[in-house]
C-alpha cells in the first residue's frame, strides 16, 4: 500500500433539461461520443506535453459516461495543481468549440456545460484482493478526498463564472503559490450528504495562464480564437472566456503580431467589465494595453 498526495480533478457534463428533453437516444450518443473524444484528446495531449511519465506512475485518469476523473501525483503538488487547472480550462474550452456545441449554439439552444471539481489530499494506491480476482492488476487510487472532490464537482452546477470549484486544501496551496495567477470567489460553505460539517468551497473566477490556448492539441488549434469569439458573440453564459480570450490577445500583442488587435482587445475588455463581477483582472489588462500598445491612448479607459 502506497500513500501519496494527489491532485484530483473530476469533471462532468451538466446538461440543461431543455436540451436533454428534446434529444433522441442517438443524439445523446453523439453528444457523449463527442464529449469523450474531446476529453480524451485534451488529457492525453496535456499529460504528454507537460512531462508526465506513465499511467500508474505519476498519473491516472478514466472516463465513464459523462464523467472524467484525473489523478495527478508527480510528487510536486504545486505542479500538479497548475496542471489540473490547465486541464480543467482546456476541457471546458474544447467542449465549447466542439462540433456538437457549435451546432447547438448555431441553433440557438442552451448548451451543455462542464462542471469541474478539483481538490488535493492524501490518497492510497493499493491493489485490493477482490480487484485482482476480477483481473484488475493495476493498484487503485482511493481516499476520502476523492469522495469530497466528487461532492465539490456536483456543487459546480451552482457556479456562476467558470463552474470550476476547488476545495479548501487546494485553495490554501494556491494562496501559498505566488507563481499562480488565480483568483477565487468568496468562500461558500455547503453541506454535503455523508459529511457532518459544512465544507468550504471556492469558485475559480480568474485563472491567468498564457499556456491554455497555445498548448491545446493541434487537432483543436484550427480557428480556435474565432470559435471562442463566436461563443462570446452569441452570449453563451461562460463569462470566464473573456479572460482567456483577452489573455490570448495580449500574447499576440506582446509578440507584435497585430497592432490592430489592441482596439479589439479594448472593446472586449469593456464588454467583459459589463459581464464579470471580478473586474480587477480586466482593469489590469486594460492597464497593460495602455502601457504597451501605442494605439491605445485613452487614459480614461485604461
Amino acid at each position: 500500500m502506497e500513500e501519496t498526495i494527489s491532485t484530483i480533478l473530476i469533471a462532468e457534463l451538466i446538461n440543461p433539461p431543455e436540451l436533454i428533453d428534446h434529444m433522441t437516444v442517438l443524439q445523446y450518443e453523439d453528444m457523449l461520443g463527442d464529449f469523450q473524444n474531446t476529453v480524451f484528446d485534451i488529457v492525453t495531449h496535456h499529460l504528454e506535453c507537460y512531462g508526465y511519465n506513465s499511467f500508474g506512475t505519476d498519473y491516472e485518469w478514466s472516463i465513464m459516461g459523462e464523467e472524467l476523473r484525473v489523478f495527478l501525483y508527480s510528487g510536486h503538488v504545486q505542479f500538479d495543481i497548475r496542471n489540473a487547472l490547465l486541464i480543467a480550462a482546456k476541457i471546458k474550452i474544447a467542449w465549447l468549440i466542439s462540433n456538437f456545441t457549435q451546432n447547438i449554439v448555431y441553433e440557438g439552444h442552451q448548451i451543455s456545460h462542464i462542471g469541474v471539481g478539483i481538490n488535493c489530499g492524501k490518497v492510497i494506491k493499493d491493489l485490493r484482493p477482490w480487484r485482482a480476482k476480477i483481473g484488475q492488476i493495476q493498484p487503485n487510487v482511493e481516499g476520502y478526498v476523492i469522495n469530497l472532490t466528487r461532492h465539490i464537482q456536483l456543487a459546480s452546477r451552482e457556479g456562476s463564472v467558470s463552474q470550476i470549484l476547488v476545495g479548501q486544501n487546494l485553495y490554501k496551496r494556491c494562496q501559498l503559490n505566488s507563481q499562480l495567477n488565480i483568483a477565487f470567489s468568496p468562500q461558500k460553505s455547503l453541506s454535503f450528504r455523508g459529511f457532518d460539517q459544512k465544507i468550504p468551497i471556492y469558485e475559480v473566477v480568474s485563472f491567468i495562464n498564457f499556456e491554455i490556448i497555445p498548448s491545446m492539441p493541434p487537432s483543436l488549434q484550427g480557428g480556435i480564437l474565432k470559435k471562442i469569439e463566436h461563443i462570446i458573440k452569441n452570449k453563451v453564459p461562460e463569462p470566464w472566456l473573456f479572460i482567456i480570450l483577452l489573455r490570448s490577445y495580449i500574447s499576440q500583442l506582446a509578440k507584435g503580431d497585430d497592432e490592430n488587435l489592441a482596439a479589439k482587445a479594448v472593446d472586449l475588455a469593456q464588454h467583459a467589465l459589463e459581464v464579470l463581477d471580478y473586474k480587477v483582472v480586466i482593469y489590469n489588462m486594460l492597464g497593460w494595453l495602455y502601457n504597451n500598445c501605442k494605439s491605445v491612448r485613452n487614459l480614461k479607459i485604461a
Binding site: I208, N209, F210, E211, S251, A254, K255, V281, N284
Partner: protein, 163 residues
C-alpha cells in the same frame, strides 16, 4: 575497113593512154608510199631516240634517288646506332641509379605508407571534426531555439504575473 582501123586506133590509143596514166599513177603512188615510209621511219627513229633519252633520264633519276636513299639510310643507321648507344647508356645509368636508390626505395616506401596513413588519419580527423562541428551547430541551434522559447515563456509568465 578503114573505119574499123580508126576505131581500133582510137581504142588502142585510149587504152595506151589509160595504161600510161595508170603507170604514171602507180609510179606516183609508189613514190608517195616510199616518201611516207621514209617519214614513218624518220618518226620511228625519232621516237626511239626520244625513248632512249627518257630511259636515260629515268635511269639517272633512279640512280640519284638510290644514292640519296642510301645516304639517308646511312644517316638513319648512324642515328639508330647513336640511339642504341644512348639507350645502353641510359640503361646503364638506370641500373646504376637503381643500385644507388635501392636503400632509399624501401625507406621511400615506408615514408609513402606513413604519409598515406597520416593522410587517412588526418582525413578521418577532419571528417570527425566536421561531424563534431555539425553536432555542435545542431546543438547550438537547438539551444538557441530553447533560449528563444524560454525567453518567450519568461515574457509570457511575466505578463501572467503582471495581470
Amino acid at each position: 575497113m578503114l573505119q574499123g582501123t580508126y576505131i581500133e586506133i582510137y581504142i588502142i590509143s585510149i587504152l595506151s593512154f589509160l595504161f600510161l596514166t595508170g603507170i604514171l599513177l602507180f609510179q606516183k603512188t609508189k613514190r608517195k608510199i616510199k616518201e611516207l615510209e621514209e617519214k614513218i621511219n624518220t618518226i620511228e627513229n625519232a621516237r626511239v631516240e626520244e625513248f632512249i633519252t627518257i630511259d636515260g633520264r629515268l635511269a639517272t633519276l633512279k640512280k640519284m634517288f638510290i644514292d640519296k636513299v642510301n645516304q639517308l639510310d646511312l644517316k638513319i643507321n648512324e642515328l639508330l646506332q647513336k640511339n642504341n648507344h644512348l639507350y645502353e647508356k641510359y640503361n646503364a645509368i638506370g641500373v646504376e641509379l637503381d643500385k644507388k636508390m635501392e636503400p632509399f626505395q624501401s625507406l621511400f616506401e615506408v615514408t609513402v605508407s606513413k604519409v598515406n596513413s597520416s593522410q587517412e588519419a588526418l582525413k578521418e580527423a577532419i571528417e570527425e571534426g566536421e561531424n563534431e562541428i555539425k553536432k555542435m551547430a545542431e546543438g547550438i541551434y537547438s539551444f538557441s531555439k530553447e533560449i528563444r522559447e524560454m525567453k518567450d515563456f519568461i515574457r509570457e509568465r511575466t505578463i501572467d504575473l503582471e495581470l
